[in-house]
Symmetry: C2
């Protein structure tokens, strides 16, 4: 039983892994189910045994991408103890990751106009995770007495504001094809915000 489930999951994971490579290289539209089937050395219809369709394969890949990415951000955040340093680490890593994704999926960026809805849905998922993380960090800072000038209630609003701004920056990045030149200003912006909430 568990063996079979494991094998099933393994094949699924393999499909996801191989698909991810294809998506990186050729983007969503130009990667066909046939292509995917070939790289896993199976028939095309086999794919439909494991996934309901191309979109589900893509979602699976995206899910993995989201959890990997979010994981790497979390990892970076958890290296630090104070809320301030956590927040700082978050923003720095966040911008790094954005640039990295831009370079990893050039084909996707090019066709982003074609599949806006899908990208949206994916992005929204990430956005919610992120918003929650920001809220948690702020909350942690309030509880520990580190952030004296904001209340627990504010954390929510602030997290929404921050994630919305990041959202805008993400869209900017994918439309323009490059990360906005805000990196240099990040430090001063951050120190001002810190003085505002500490």
């Amino acid at each position: 039983m568990t063996n079979k489930i494991k094998k099933n999951d393994q094949i699924k994971a393999d499909i996801v892994k191989k698909s991810r490579e294809l998506f990186k290289r050729f983007g969503l539209n130009k990667t066909t189910m046939e292509d995917i089937a070939q790289t896993i050395s199976k028939g095309k219809s086999t794919l439909y045994y494991y996934f309901t369709g191309k979109e589900e394969v893509f979602y699976a890949v995206a899910q993995k991408e989201i959890s990997d990415t979010f994981g790497s951000i979390m990892e970076e955040v958890e290296k630090h103890n104070s809320a301030q340093e956590r927040l700082r680490a978050f923003f720095l890593k966040r911008f790094d990751v954005l640039e990295e994704k831009l370079n990893t999926y050039p084909a996707m960026v090019r066709e982003q106009k074609k599949n806006i809805e899908i990208f949206h849905k994916i992005h929204l998922e990430f956005s919610l995770l992120e918003r929650n993380l920001i809220k948690e960090i702020l909350f942690y800072g309030v509880k520990s007495g580190e952030f004296k000038h904001i209340s627990k209630k504010d954390c929510d609003s602030l997290a929404i504001a921050a994630s919305t701004i990041l959202n805008g920056i993400d869209i900017y990045t994918f439309v323009e094809g490059n990360v906005p030149p805000i990196g240099d200003q990040l430090d001063i912006l951050f120190s001002i915000t810190m003085r505002g909430i500490k």
Copy 2:
């Protein structure tokens, strides 16, 4: 002499005015030079006596739109005396205006993907004006001693950061077709920033 120049300018202004109406209704692509010519009751080729082409007509319209819009923002800003209140007025008005434009030019929003380059160029012009205004307000606050925690040098970086963020929000707005739900958070965000720089 002056008479002729005046008449010339008057006709140009008329073309711009009528074109603006057409652009509002039908967008850039679906408004033809023939359409414009008809509304000013002249032949199509007459338009080419006053403008080098459709794009120049559009730029003229956009210029007027920029100066009107920026003017209305300035007007709002100058109602207040302190740098803090000016900055606040700027952001509030800025979001108002964004939503207003979104509703005034629905056809443009729909075709925005088709003419990204042009919209870009226009937006960039506005962006520079805006960035300068922000810088001026900050500068004014530093000089008057109102903003104690930032230096003159910082004003530039901060203005860049702010206008980049607004930029992201603009693109978000036009891609999504609605102003991001950040309005409610604007107050708290603003008060934090204020505490950070005052």
